[in-house]
């Protein structure tokens, strides 16, 4: 009799685990009359999450019939989760998206064509040159949230200590290299003019644009040759050799801070919305941004959609999702909440809604200073681009470690690009 008793307990246990599993599967249903619930997800820091909570509260206050169910993670983990969800057909209703991944999801049919919803999302407030960033073959899969541009950051305190003049926005690349050498020579040990700036894919893209080319063509093909990549990676070879650049070992050591953020280099190229992060990392009172060097007079600068909103094709409530996206992109109060922490707001109404102060004002001033010289915004990037971008950085670092010659690294990048773009 004891056995039968045990059997019952075991069966009950089994049933309850099965029940749990079943419960876990079916959370997507909504009652017909109750409020509509939207799953919304983004990547970013705690700071972004805090601002997001405020923005969501503002939306829910004005839209009592829509309930937002928020979720966030870091950038790497974010895309791993989205990939598995896409494979299983269960993407969230509204997602923050990146230019590198838009095409991959859109071509698979995982994203909704927002234009099909009519004017539910007002995009007339967004610069026309920027809208193609979210469009593929005439359909709109992404609405730009904000933009950023490449800039040349420098730290006035380090330059003062070295007694070297500040860089200007009118330098040539050779002048910049000479400037790096001078800063390294005149600075105390352990402080350098710069790190190896050739490891950033987007900076290479800017360099190519200065010569009237583009790293990725509109059709999503590689827009440069092996010889051009070789020339780029070899350009600071002298600086590498005479120790004018901070070493690869030290750079790895400092991670997750960049050498500039750790006060060990006087300058660094990056997206202009990094300013706030740099100020926190360095603890400096003031950092400056100027335009990066150019040999041709063409700056090669462009506005990049730093992030976009996309709606999952499987959403049960496309209208509600569109309402939410419209609010997040256009509402002035949301603009005020985020400031420039995600880049400059893409929508005019949000830019006008926000008063920019301190670092925010500095970024706005920088983008205004280059506004007349901007080129086309990049179109959605080819499938597999994320891999290409990280390979670019890794191989450039391997060159600095002396693991590969420039030639070997170039060959490897192209070999991997071929297999990544085939996907």
């Amino acid at each position: 009799m004891k056995n039968r008793h045990l059997l019952t307990v075991a069966a009950a246990l089994c049933a309850s685990t099965l029940g749990l599993a079943a419960c876990g599967g079916g959370s997507g249903e909504t009652a017909a009359d109750g409020p509509v619930s939207l799953d919304y997800t983004w990547w970013g820091s705690q700071d972004r999450a805090d601002r997001m909570t405020k923005a969501i509260a503002a939306f829910e206050a004005s839209h009592p019939d829509i309930d937002i169910n928020p979720n966030f993670s870091d950038f790497e983990g974010y895309w791993q989760k989205r990939a598995t969800e896409a494979a299983g057909g269960g993407l969230p209703d509204v997602m923050q998206f990146d230019l590198s991944y838009l095409r991959q999801y859109a071509e698979r049919g995982a994203l909704l064509d927002i234009a099909e919803l009519g004017d539910a999302v007002d995009t007339s407030t967004i610069e026309e040159t920027l809208l193609p960033s979210g469009q593929i073959d005439g359909a709109t899969y992404g609405v730009p949230i904000s933009t950023n541009a490449l800039g040349h950051f420098y730290n006035p305190a380090i330059l003062e200590q070295a007694g070297v003049a500040a860089p200007t926005g009118d330098m040539t690349w050779d002048e910049y290299d000479a400037w790096i050498r001078e800063v390294t020579e005149k600075s105390p040990e352990g402080v350098f003019g710069s790190g190896d700036y050739t490891s950033t894919f987007w900076l290479f893209d800017m360099y190519l644009r200065q010569q009237g080319k583009q790293a990725v063509t509109e059709d999503g093909e590689i827009g440069f040759t092996k010889a051009e990549l070789k020339e780029w990676w070899e350009s600071p070879a002298d600086l590498r050799q005479d120790g004018s650049l901070i070493s690869a070992e030290r750079t790895t050591q400092l991670d997750p801070k960049s050498p500039f953020g750790a006060n060990e280099t006087a300058s660094e190229f990056s997206w202009d919305n990094f300013l706030a992060g740099y100020l926190t990392d360095t603890g400096a009172e003031k950092l400056e941004i100027v335009a990066p060097p150019t040999d041709t007079g063409d700056r090669g600068l462009f506005l990049k959609a730093s992030m976009l909103y996309a709606i999952g094709a499987n959403t049960e409530n496309p209208e509600a999702a569109a309402e939410f996206v419209d609010f997040m992109v256009n509402d002035p109060e949301v603009g005020a909440i985020f400031g420039t922490s995600r880049g400059i707001p893409a929508s005019e109404t949000q830019r006008e809604g926000a008063t920019f102060e301190g670092a925010d004002a500095q970024i706005v001033a920088y983008e205004e200073s280059i506004a007349d010289e901007l080129g086309e915004s990049p179109a959605p990037l080819p499938i597999g681009f994320g891999t290409l971008e990280s390979n670019f950085k890794r191989l450039a670092s391997d060159v600095n470690y002396g693991r590969y010659t420039v030639d070997e690294a170039v060959d490897q990048w192209f070999a991997e690009a071929e297999s990544a773009l085939q996907q």
């Binding site: 039968r4 790497e76 791993q80 494979a87 050591q253 991670d255 670092s397 996907q423």
Partner: protein, 317 residues
């Protein structure tokens, strides 16, 4: 309950089987399966199913976004043209071939020390075992990275001792020693098994050897090692298999990239990058099966060669 256990011929047991008896037996086996159910369900749903799926995917170009297409052995062929794959094989082999013997030697040495009767033995045993309890965790890998970074405890210690170092984390030549040290420090599990083994070695053997004038080294090599060989074999097998699969610590210490300069690109880490960063699931599945085959092969070789050096004391040759 079976014929084997009772030693009786089968028909003797089954002949008097009344319906009652049979029902009881069925009920009993049902109970047995009910208790096994959580494990069985887990095994079929979470292990066997995905394994079969990955075996299929290994022969496809599956990328999470498109339906998988059969490409035969293409993934396996590509492995040998992929410099990062070859690098990951090299890194992992160095780790297994150098790290495992060091770890086992450390475990055996500590087990020998703790085998002596000394005061507070229980405390020491627990203390030496402790790192293994927390060892596989993410937090330890983070602490380890901090200790070996520039300005970390190890780095400062070495600098003060007159060995200036600029941190181990950024130097491709020092990350492997760092990883091996981390593994070695977690010698607790094999140590406990060695201790148990040492308790089984008959004291008379040592006494007899001492009477014959054998020194301590001689006694170690001629008595301890042969008597312990089944335990050594067991530990070697287990630790080798574990070492092939190291992941969490490498992921944390290299920031998930296998750097600097590919020096911590362990096999499983590259597999993960291929699958979940590059979305090349077919390729990653092929990597997983190649690893499973190699581990299976090594296990087989170890078993086959074990007759030559593993001594089972109950066994007559």
């Amino acid at each position: 309950m079976s014929a084997l256990q009772t030693g009786q011929p089968r028909d003797v047991l089954s002949a008097p089987a009344s319906p009652d008896y049979r029902r009881a037996r069925r009920a009993e086996s049902r109970t047995g399966y009910a208790f096994l159910a959580p494990w069985l369900i887990g095994f079929f749903v979470l292990t066997a199913g995905p394994m079969l799926a990955s075996l299929y995917l290994a022969f496809t170009d599956y990328n999470l976004f498109r339906a998988p297409e059969w490409i035969g052995l293409e993934n396996f062929r590509q492995l040998f043209d992929d410099p990062r794959y070859l690098q990951s094989v090299k890194v992992t082999l160095v780790y297994v071939l150098v790290g495992t013997p060091i770890k086992l030697a450390a475990a055996l040495a500590v087990a020998l020390l703790l085998n002596n009767a000394l005061r507070g033995q229980g405390f020491y045993r627990s203390a030496f075992y402790a790192p293994s309890l927390i060892g596989a965790s993410v937090s330890i890998a983070i602490v380890w990275k901090a200790m070996f970074s520039d300005g970390g405890v190890v780095d400062l210690g070495l600098t003060n001792l007159g060995f200036p170092s600029e941190g181990w984390v950024g130097d491709p030549g020092k990350t492997m020693p760092m990883m091996i040290l981390l593994a070695t420090w977690q010698f607790g599990a094999p140590m406990v098994i060695f201790l148990a083994g040492l308790k089984q070695v008959p004291r008379e053997l040592y006494e007899a050897a001492a009477v014959d004038g054998a020194g301590s080294m001689r006694r170690f090599w001629s008595i301890t090692v042969p008597m312990l060989s089944p335990v050594i074999f067991f530990n070697l097998l287990l630790e080798t298999i574990n070492a092939f699969q190291v992941f969490a610590s490498a992921y944390i210490i290299s920031g998930g990239q296998g750097g600097p300069a590919g020096s911590t690109l362990f096999y499983t880490l590259y597999l993960y990058i291929r699958g979940f960063s590059d979305f090349r699931m077919g390729y990653a599945s092929a990597m997983a099966w190649a690893l499973a085959l190699v581990i299976g092969l090594i296990t087989l070789v170890m078993f086959r060669t074990s007759n030559a050096w593993v001594h089972y004391s109950g066994e007559s040759k």
